[in-house]
C-alpha cells in the first residue's frame, strides 16, 4: 500500500475498518474452514485495494465493497471446489462452515446459519446473506444486479425453498 498517497491509503484503511463486518460475513458464508476463510479474507482485501482507484466516492462504499467481496468469494468458492474435487470426496455438507466462537449458543446459531446457507447455490446464498444483513431491496438489487421487485421475488423463493426442504 506504499505506492499511493498516505492519505489515500489511510482513507481506504479507515473505510475497511469501519466496514470490516462485510468482509467477515462474506468470508464466513463462502469459505469452508478457518484456513480457507483467512485466504478468502486476504483475497477480498487485495482485490478491494486493487479496485480502489476506480471507486466512485459519490456511490455508497458498503455497496461497492459488497460487490467486490461477493465477486471474489464466488470465484474463490469455485476454484476451491474444483481443487477439492480431485483429492477429497465431498460430503453432503461440504459447504458448511465450522463455527469457532467461544459461546455454545452462538456456535449453534452459526451452525444453523451455515447449514441454511449450504442448502443454496452461490448466487442465492449471496441474496440471503444480504437479506439477513438487513440490506434494503434496493441495495441488494444494486449489488446483485436485479430490480427491487425481482429481489423481493427471489427472497420469497429462497424462503419457500428452505421451507419446502425442511418440511
Amino acid at each position: 500500500m506504499a505506492s499511493r498517497g498516505i492519505s489515500d491509503s489511510e482513507k481506504f484503511a479507515g473505510l475497511i475498518r469501519d466496514h470490516a463486518g462485510i468482509v467477515r460475513k462474506v468470508a464466513a458464508t463462502y469459505a469452508r474452514d478457518p484456513d480457507d476463510r483467512a485466504d478468502l479474507v486476504q483475497d477480498i482485501l487485495a482485490n478491494l485495494w486493487a479496485a480502489w482507484p476506480r471507486y466512485d466516492d459519490t456511490r455508497p462504499f458498503p455497496t461497492w465493497m459488497y460487490r467486490v467481496a461477493l465477486n471474489v468469494a464466488l470465484s474463490h468458492v469455485r476454484s476451491v471446489y474444483r481443487e477439492r474435487r480431485v483429492m477429497t470426496p465431498l460430503t453432503v455438507d461440504h459447504d458448511a462452515v465450522a463455527a469457532t466462537g467461544p459461546d455454545h449458543a452462538e456456535n449453534q446459531a452459526l451452525d444453523a446459519l451455515h447449514a441454511t446457507m449450504a442448502r443454496l447455490g452461490p448466487l442465492n446464498r449471496a441474496v440471503l446473506l444480504l437479506y439477513l444483513d438487513e440490506r434494503s431491496h434496493r441495495e441488494i438489487g444494486e449489488i446483485v444486479g436485479l430490480g427491487e421487485s425481482a429481489v423481493g421475488t427471489r427472497i420469497d423463493r429462497i424462503k419457500q425453498k428452505l421451507r419446502r426442504e425442511l418440511a
Partner: protein, 223 residues
Amino acid sequence: MTEELTMDTDALKAAMATLEGGDRELAFPGTDAVRKARHGVDALGKWQIVQIGAGIIFAVAGGTVWSSLLARPGLLFASGLLINLFGAAMIALGVAGLTHAVRIDVAAPIIESEEHMARLHRIKLVSSWMLGASWWMLWLPFMAVVVRLVWGADMLAPIGISAWLLTTVASGVIGWAGMWGLRRWAARNGQTHLAARMDDMMTGHSFREAHRRLKEVARLAAD
C-alpha cells in the same frame, strides 16, 4: 440438523450479526497479493490476445500453403487447409473469449460478472478441447506446412493416404494415453491444479458446471 434449520429469520439475522465483530483486526494484504489481484483479470484478456495472435500465424501459414497448390490438390493442400481452419478457429474463439474477458469487473453487479465468467470459462474449455485435443491429429499437417514454408519441400509426397491416416490415428491414441498417464501421476503426487484441469478436459465436468452457472444466472435474471 432439522431443529437447527427451523430457526426463524430473526434468529438467522441475529446469527449473521454476530459475524460483524471479529476477534482480530483485519490484516492488510502484502504487495504481492495486491499485484496478483490486479493482474488476475488482466491475465484473462492477455491469454485471449496471445491465442488470437497464434491463430493469425497458423491461419496465414496454412492459407499460404493451400492457396499455392490450387492447381494440384493433394495431402499437402489438405494439410494447409486444415491448419488454416485451425488458425481461424483459434482466432474466433480468442475474439469470443476476449469480448467477455474485457467486460469482467470485480466491482460489477455479481450476476453480470458471473455471466461473463461462466461464458469465458465455457469458451476456454471449448478452446482446450478443440485446439488441445486436435493437436494429436494435426501435428503431421503442421509439420508438412512448416517444411513447405521453410524448405519449399513436400514431406507428404512419398506418403499415401492410408499411411497418413494410420500415423494420425496412432499418434492420437498415444497422445490420449499419455494424457491419461499424466493425470494419474498428477493426482497421486499432489499436483491438484493439473489433475483438476485434466479432469475437466477429459470428463466434460466443467462444461456441465459452466452450463449450470449460466442457468443459475438466467434464473435469477428472469425474476
